[in-house]
Amino acid sequence: MYPRPRLLPLGEAALTIEFGAAIERAAQAAVRACDRALRAEAPAGVIEVVPTYRSVTVRFDPTVTSRNALATWFAGRDFSPAPADEQRPAAVIPVVYGGEYGPDLGDVAAHAGLAPEEVVRRHSAAVYTVSMIGFLAGFPYLTGLPPELSTPRLKTPRTSVPAGAVGIAGEQTGIYPRTSPGGWRLIGRASVQLWDPARERPSLLEPGDRVRFQAVTPEEFARSGGAPGSPSGGPSRGGEPE
């Protein structure tokens, strides 16, 4: 984490405040605190607040506020983490691991030098934090993966990853909200609907939320509405893989 946050230019109507160079806990805590302060105080002219792993991007109306005004706002605040953040209850997401639901579980196990059952045990024992939501509407980037489960992305991304697929990419884990191209190592499938425009808050998860996975059987998965052959997100729309 930097001793002082850096303000990065991003055109005439946005800026990024960056708290560290890498994905690290202290920078993430500062991101959470900054995001919370921006939302609570809602400085005039701020249109969007996008927290990521180590920075917060703010889009603003330059006829209402300015880069300098926002810089002053940032300078007057301390983004030390609030301890309450760690107390939030974790959302529990049921997952069927392995088999046709998680075709890369074997690869992840081999990379870690563990049995597949042990990968499942460790992946579902950890508590994760939604560090950011990006790539697709509702796609959560989760940190907190046990380091030994860290596995690089596929060399060649799949052209179609089903909705609900739970994957690992480096030290991150995440869930595909809809069918899309993707290069993450797929270890399981969740039946949650991460994105639903009909809900008041369309995204199931919010940056800063905590998440835990619960291993379930294919039968339990089917009862909760999931099916391996019928992803809920409709056809793949092409585009860049994640």
Binding site: E12, Y53, P62, L136, G138, G234, R237
Partner: protein, 344 residues
Amino acid sequence: MSASVIEVISPGLLTTVQDLGRPGYARYGLGPGGAADDFALRAANFLADNPPGAAGLEVTLAGPAIRFSAGTSLAIAGADLGPALDGRPLENWRGYMVSAGQVLTFGRPVRGCRAYLAVHGGVDIPPAMGSRSTDLKAGLGWGAGRPLAAGDRLPVGGGIVPASRLDALALAFERLLPAGDESPGGYLDREAVAATAGPQEDHFDPATVSLFHSSAFTVATASDRMGLRLEGPAIRPLRPDIVSDGLVAGAVQVPESGQPLCLLAGHQTTGGYPKIAVAGLAHLRVLAQRAPLARVAFFGAAQDDLDAEAAAYLHAVRAWEAWRLGGRATRLFRVRNGPVCLAE
């Protein structure tokens, strides 16, 4: 009025319903989207006597054929894609009255990439998350997020704007152009846009930054509403990837290949490539009109200069609505050494 529809005879290459987008959801991974050239959508709406955020059609290169079920008024702005009404050529940047049963067609693209059709009253479909914009990737808007298809019948507000009013709007529009616009569609021919340093300009060595600002790039055919893929000299970053951070339209990302991607309205919310530069806000409309195989260049500009330019541009564009609502009572005056402001 609600019985007024436009019927799609043929959809064209990529015709979508767009308004000014749905800001506020980027933290959930959904970008604001909306018209790629919002200047042209606002202009078409003004000329058709609509509020700036009314939904219109974004027409890409090869346009649709559309039949009007009832008499109404329309305007087309942005790219000149050869529009004609029952075979009679139409001009961009002015409003027309149409009769029930008339057919609007488009011909060969003449200038630019995206034309905007505004029909009086706007495309009147239910908004999704506060906007009628089509988001192809998130599946939002008309037909759960798809382009128009043959046989589609889109409800429009409808109603007729008198010819005298259409003429007054067109005359006013020419007077209310942003400073530096010599004619309504002048920006369609521009190849160079101003750009400031991006948040990761320091990921490139100074010679590479100079090369970027002094080179002309070609817009690749794989470009879309998400962004312009640029072909030209390799702009190689010193370090390939960054920890993903937030994106805006106009940001120029450079992957390891050295072929930049300049983001447009349909961009993703976050990205892991270093951003060498950000195109000026007042220049996004130029980028949105660069068709595949067109050239584009990014000359370096000081942030202070582009801040002033953006403020003047936004004031000018937003003044249209005040004129439309206030008519002749509203006049423009120029503050000494300052941007154009609105007077009561």
